[in-house]
Amino acid sequence: MKSRISPAVLRGSALALAAALALTACGGGGGNDAGGAAPEEVSAEDVQAALEEGGDLTVWAWEPTLEKVVEDFEAEHPNVNIDLVNAGTGNDQYTALQNAIAAGSGVPDVAQIEYYALPQFALAESVKDLTGYGAGDLSDTFSPGPWSSVQAGEGIYGLPMDSGPMALFYNTEVFEKYGVEVPTTWDEYVEAARALHAADPNVYIANDTGDAGFATSLIWQAGGKPYTVDGTDVKVDFSDEGTTKYAETWQQLLDEDLLAPISSWSDEWYQGLGSGTIATLATGAWMPGNFTSGVPASAGKWRAAPLPQWEEGGTASAENGGSSLTIPAASEQGALAYAFLDYANVGDGVQTRIDGGAFPATSAALESEEFLNSEFEYFGGQKANEIFAESAQNVPEGWSYLPFQVYANSVFNDTAGQAYVSDTPLKDGLKAWQDASIKYGTEQGFTVSE
């Protein structure tokens, strides 16, 4: 017996370590070659020449409308062959990308990166600074919010692909049935939450189980600036006025159990959006496509409205989500990759993607009559883009994410999320989130202060 067990034990622990290796195998390299060198200079002629010469490009993106863009691009440039890979959505893709970068092989030529995650890649110089490619001339091409999101320090690390100016989506049927007005301020929102839930205990104004992206967007709208980033000097402070406004309002919803404890993107969530259990959804303008595909049965019931305001008569909004296309530093096809970025995010690709239901980031598209006048069948023929475009204009300036926001967001539920399931006040939860972010930042070599 003994001789049989020992190897079993050994095998068990070896497996544990082997699992650890699987986790760590990709972490070896770590360094980056760019090392703060001046950005590559690639002229428009170089890009044109690369296009004519052709070649193979690997694009990592999960944005569905890119499929058509890739098709059109290949048709226009028969020498170019693009391999569009869905390497996961959001964090999953960043993990794969970071592993590929660390391993030094299998790095794509183009990668989709959300605005909140871009500073992390820019700081590590894992993605190319596109200033030398002439991206600096595009400042008037994109609307201000997304444009500022792709910049870090002096560099421009990606071209904005879409944006997520926020709006309030609401189920008209539910509001009409219970005779509740659609809220225009967050105070009215709390009132509406009470009224709806009192009328039918199964109805909630919204679902929320603690979502870092949502919380930071509302703080952004309220004028809060919890993150200040200057190179490697970082300040995290969740005690400013904007944050306090958000925390106090949301605390009321939590205290009175007015939020459905359903996580976004779960099956329960889709059911709730369809059944009227979840009456509103405050999120980015990229949502309509998801309504159409995820909750088809409710077509005609939902409408869009401006995001409720923190102050009566205000117009402030915020961005939620949105992503850019970047060129990883390890790509050897910079010129060709840039040609694709330019086509997809500035050129003909923009209209293709709008037709596919995406929300653009270029000023021209946002201001075009055709775009503003398009009627959304799902929203009962509402010209919802007018609301979204208005929202895009009203995003407060000066917001920045942490250069390690991906990590910070991953521990939101460990800290602030506790306010959703215990007596911990949200304010304290946010403080705990702040502390966790500071701890990590310090460990990673940043100079972090409160």
């Binding site: 067990i5 050994l10 699992a19 290796l21 760590t24 972490g27 700081l123 991906v406 940043f446």
Partner: protein, 311 residues
Amino acid sequence: MTTASPPPATLGTQPRPAKRAQRRTRTSWSGWLFIGPFMAVFAVVFLAPIAYSIWLSFFRNQLVGGNGFVGLANYTQALQDPQFWSSLLRVVLFLAVQVPVMLLIALLVALALDSGRLYGKSFFRISIFLPYAVPAVVASLMWGFMYGTRFGLVGNINSALGINLPNPLSPELILASIGNIVTWEFIGYNMLIFYSALSVIPKSLYEAAEIDGASQFRLVTAIKLPAIRGAMVVAGIFSVIGSFQLFNEPAILQSLAPNSISTYFTPNLYAYSLSFSGQQYNYSATVAIIMGVITMVIAYAVQLRGMRKES
């Protein structure tokens, strides 16, 4: 290898030392030839990863400042890390409660099947074993749906009976809910280990006991249980290792109950989060190595205890 060449007794005289040394060398080389293929694979897939993890654990790679040798700093940090300890305590609690419950039920089921008094024995055997054939990820998703208080089974029961069951996904109950899933998954597996050990007990023992007039209960305590003690130790060790490596179930349920299952809910989940959300590969390797050592020690202790009883 040392026992390979005792001098043949018929030789009469001692062979000369030089000759003996020569023969021994040749023998040892041919031995290596035989175990070579195994050793090569073993070195590549077992030893190298472990060595690489240990190597990694001596470094620290920061977003700012790059990679550097830090000696044992990762280990001192891990040993003082409250998140690591809380994750370890959680699996120890899990081990202390879930494993005995699971093994006891598995044992009872195995004894029932073995008693020969069960109608439809093979049907019960296969249906109790079936959950083990369901992948853990699928099982967790399935149970996750059932645990749902709004649209899940718990929600259905609540609305059908007008009662208010406690939420299985709340922070207070989540560990028990996971224990329930794991028990459901592994009762069949452990039952099969016990059952196969029971079925090799010689029938003559039972006949002898019958002649002595032993009751069924006496049969169990005096023959069956002592005979399968070895199997129980094996099942115990697998369960200890399984508990310390708890990962699939909490990782899957995390998306349904993000505030109940933290990123450091179990040591493996912690190592995973460190690597994949925080890019702290080095620290993650350290946590994994410490967990490997702790698991080894505890599993060894279980084995020693099991053996001592046997002797």
